[in-house]
Subunit: 169 residues, 2 copies
Amino acid sequence: MTVLKTSEKPAEAARGRKDAAEGSSEALQLGELSEQLGYVLKRAQLKVFENFLRCMASLQLTPAQFSVLLLVEKNPGRNQTEIASTLGILRPNFVAMLDNLESRDLCARIRSTNDRRSHILVLTDQGKAVLTRAKKLVATKHEARLNDLLGSANRTALIAMLSKIANEF
Amino acid sequence: MTVLKTSEKPAEAARGRKDAAEGSSEALQLGELSEQLGYVLKRAQLKVFENFLRCMASLQLTPAQFSVLLLVEKNPGRNQTEIASTLGILRPNFVAMLDNLESRDLCARIRSTNDRRSHILVLTDQGKAVLTRAKKLVATKHEARLNDLLGSANRTALIAMLSKIANEF
DNA sequence: CGATATTTGATATGATCCATAACAATTATC
DNA sequence: GATAATTGTTATGGATCATATCAAATATCG
């Protein structure tokens, strides 16, 4: 339930007093690191998640929770296994997530009549309302930031490349 | 020390038998999710790390360990705090990482003579040798894959955009 | 039909990663 | 020279991720 990371720009953190005095200490050379796909990907991902959490602070939604709500809205009537596995969440770990969302009355489990083993997932009215507000926040505060930073065309290209990596790498 | 994730393509995982019979069950609609920056970023990052681990299986190096070796090589004579904070690793968590690398004789801590509190970090000869081999593996097996997938120009553009996000988001 | 296997949601549990507080030794500051 | 700050370290808790296992329900197959 962490929502905000106080964190500091990694590089600036350690640089302290004695830089000017000693002369040997300055910002470290990242070298080849700054060209390593994995390194820069991970760093970008952390920043984006951090920003997402800030934008969603009023709704207290994590990226994972948001993705669940989105997927349930788009695919009502699916069971836990289907939703979880589509998101790459293992079933055991999905239980607590749902307990949380259900306790906040954002979604509900309904025993399926066809298959009484499975729980159909649906958004509650409040869940729908919250999701609508969440989408607005994401669009105006979060994703808008990408356009400011990269421009609309680049934003599209970036998402396309990341999707390609996610699917075909 | 996990090295390989057996994992399965998330979407395909749940789809089972009764699809054809029932007719209602098919692949779920990702909807807006596939355009969510955070979602696609995270997914891509997982895939890339997974591939990295596979490529490095023979050397048993994680992305984090590789980044430490790279940074120490490029900045010899720095202490733990400097290396760790540059990588966004908290000092307490860096201790175990170094214990590991040192136990494998890849790098060494040396008490600084200027400041007897701090440990200067250096690569051992074996550490240098391993890093050289690691770089080759990364270049030929890992990063090469990106070129195959996106083309060289796009690869460069992607890294540039991710860097921008990591630094300015 | 009935025995066996499979699936679903759930629990328990462990590994790994991330973050904070506190400590001894050393150094900086005033 | 007293006090504050820094370095590496330990201890610890939370979050995330993965595996094994279970009971209930369903599917499969002889």
